[in-house]
């Protein structure tokens, strides 16, 4: 469980370009749920998640992970990083090893694990991310963009974190690559039912498809938070802060404005399909 209490962060404090990036953030993340953090560019999403594994220290406020205070100066960062895995934006740019296998093994090796344990973890992470074992001896730089990204995510997952945070995991991928990453996130959730998964996204479609709960940030403050249904109901607020709602939500809204008796709060294509089918069947009868 992650508990964030009254978190404030001032970027470059004392320098001429100092500015406050986060204002009084309080949040709870429960075990076994998928969270999405959305917000406009510069809303503080990335800064917020960098706090969760101790890369950034809050200016004030507290963060507890499983009841231990990670803002405490005595907390060892190596312990935090063992339990919180952070996948950065465009993680494929961090690949550096000679082979895919060695790159995935980098994290577990840093944890000081035995050779056998490292091997099991590499294979485990590769399986979860659908990386063929035949790629293990290849150089990571020979892979395709989507493959590179999956190898990079596997590198974090091989550390077996109890919290996995992904910053824009689908950015810059083609539709098939996107689908694959989202499916992998869902799979991860089924395989590790207690894991907290937090992902930052720009894409409302991704959020609608994958997340249980949504946190909306605007200019460093929490604008809304709650389950996906609730948040997407406030389409005007979302649009007013420069965010878009899923295309299908727009369609359902338009239809209901035109007098078609659809449910305007539907935000997935499957939901819309069922809803429209039901209405069509009713009118046919």
């Amino acid at each position: 469980m992650i508990k964030v209490k009254n978190l404030n962060y001032i970027y470059q404090e004392g320098m001429p370009d100092q500015r406050q990036a986060l204002f009084d953030i309080s949040l709870d993340f429960d075990d076994g749920k998928i969270y999405a953090i959305i917000g406009h560019t510069g809303s503080g999403k990335s800064t917020l998640i960098e706090h969760f594994n101790g890369l950034v220290r809050p200016t004030s406020g507290k963060i507890y992970i499983d009841n231990s205070d990670i803002t405490d100066k005595k907390t060892k960062f190596s312990d935090i990083r063992k339990s919180v895995g952070l996948v950065f934006q465009y993680p494929e740019y961090q690949l550096f090893e000679e082979t895919v296998y060695l790159d995935i093994a980098f994290g577990p090796k840093n944890l000081g694990l035995s050779k056998e344990e490292i091997d099991t973890r590499v294979r485990y992470a590769a399986r979860l991310l659908d990386i063929d074992e035949r790629l293990f001896q290849k150089s990571p730089f020979e892979l395709s963009g989507g493959q590179k990204r999956r190898v990079a995510i596997a590198g974090v997952l091989a550390m077996r974190p109890s919290v996995l945070i992904l910053d824009e995991p689908t950015a810059g991928l083609d539709p098939r690559g996107r689908e694959k990453i989202l499916k992998i996130i869902k799979n991860l959730h089924t395989e590790n039912p207690k894991m907290i998964i937090i992902f930052v996204s720009h894409s409302m479609e991704d959020v609608a498809k994958t997340a249980d709960e949504v946190i909306v940030l605007n200019k460093g403050r929490i604008c809304m938070s709650g389950c996906v249904d609730e948040v997407f109901k406030h389409s005007e607020t979302l649009q007013s802060i420069g965010l878009d709602i899923p295309e299908i939500s727009k369609l359902m809204h338009e239809l209901s404005v035109l007098g078609v008796p659809v449910n305007p709060d539907i935000y997935t294509i499957d939901g819309a399909y069922d809803n429209i089918k039901k209405i069509l069947l009713e009118t046919n009868n």
């Binding site: 320098m15 001429p16 960062f77 961090q94 944890l111």
Partner: protein, 266 residues
């Protein structure tokens, strides 16, 4: 650690130093460095340090920024000072284990320390108060007489402006990669020199790859806009040296001559 490097960073403000002609500023900075290395005697150093302090105050940039800029170089500066302290032969003052501290050692350590600190502060004054664009423009103008002897002034200026332009980008990139590898348990701080050097591999490999990628992209972008270095260009903003620039330069030169003289008189 890399985001603290202030060399090549420009801070937008308004001050006498910001308004000074960049060509004059470059020449005066060169002069500053030369004078720093020819002055003798503690009085001269104190006066020179005072002059630097005045310049820092005149720049309208918080002194904190300069101190932050010194931080990444603390190791080199202290290392040089300690080396000077322990390895200068002369009249022995203190002796312990295999080391001996000499009177000359203390003297040269203090001088080295002061020189390096002033050197970094003085030269960062130039880059902090001059935008990279103006800076390279000025370098191009200063080098242009040399183009008669086939020195590629424009190309040099272009390369410099690209290099300067990419310092913050690469520093950002380094910061990002460093954070990412730290999240994967990489440790850049502990261990002896060899383990630390090895620990840099996960940082340097991605950084080089990204630098090459960026260079490639930039080259393509320049090509697609038909960039050609041999074509003569006119400038949008030509800076002219005014009366204020000349009087400032004269004051600076006179101050420096006085400071140098003090070393030889006293």
């Amino acid at each position: 650690m890399f985001k603290d490097i202030i060399i090549g960073q420009y801070i937008n403000a308004d001050s006498v130093l910001h308004r000074l002609d960049p060509k004059i500023k470059i020449i005066l900075t060169v002069l500053y460095v030369v004078v720093l290395f020819i002055i003798r005697g503690s009085v001269s150093y104190v006066l020179f340090a005072l002059m630097t302090l005045c310049l820092v105050l005149m720049s309208n940039i918080k002194p904190k920024v300069f101190i932050k800029g010194l931080k990444p170089l603390v190791f080199i500066i202290i290392f040089t000072a300690v080396m000077n302290l322990l390895l200068t032969p002369g009249t022995v003052m203190v002796r312990f284990w295999i080391f001996k501290i000499t009177y000359e050692g203390i003297r040269s350590a203090v001088i080295m320390f002061t020189r390096l600190v002033l050197l970094v502060t003085g030269t960062s004054l130039l880059t902090l108060t001059t935008s990279p664009l103006k800076l390279t423009d000025a370098i191009e103008t200063l080098l242009s007489p040399l183009s008669h002897i086939k020195v590629p002034a424009h190309e040099i200026a272009m390369m410099m402006s690209i290099a300067i332009r990419f310092i913050p980008t690469l520093a950002d990139e380094t910061d990002k990669i460093q954070k990412a590898q730290t999240s994967r348990g990489a440790d850049f701080q502990s261990g002896n020199i060899i383990t630390r050097a090895r620990a840099m591999i996960p940082l340097l490999v991605p950084l080089f790859i990204s630098a090459f990628r960026r260079a490639d992209e930039l080259a393509t972008a320049m090509d697609s806009r038909c960039y050609n270095a041999t074509i003569k260009r006119t400038k949008l903003n030509t800076s002219r040296i005014g009366k204020a620039d000349i009087s400032y330069a004269l004051v600076f030169i006179c101050t420096n001559i006085i400071i140098i003289m003090f070393g030889y008189i006293i």
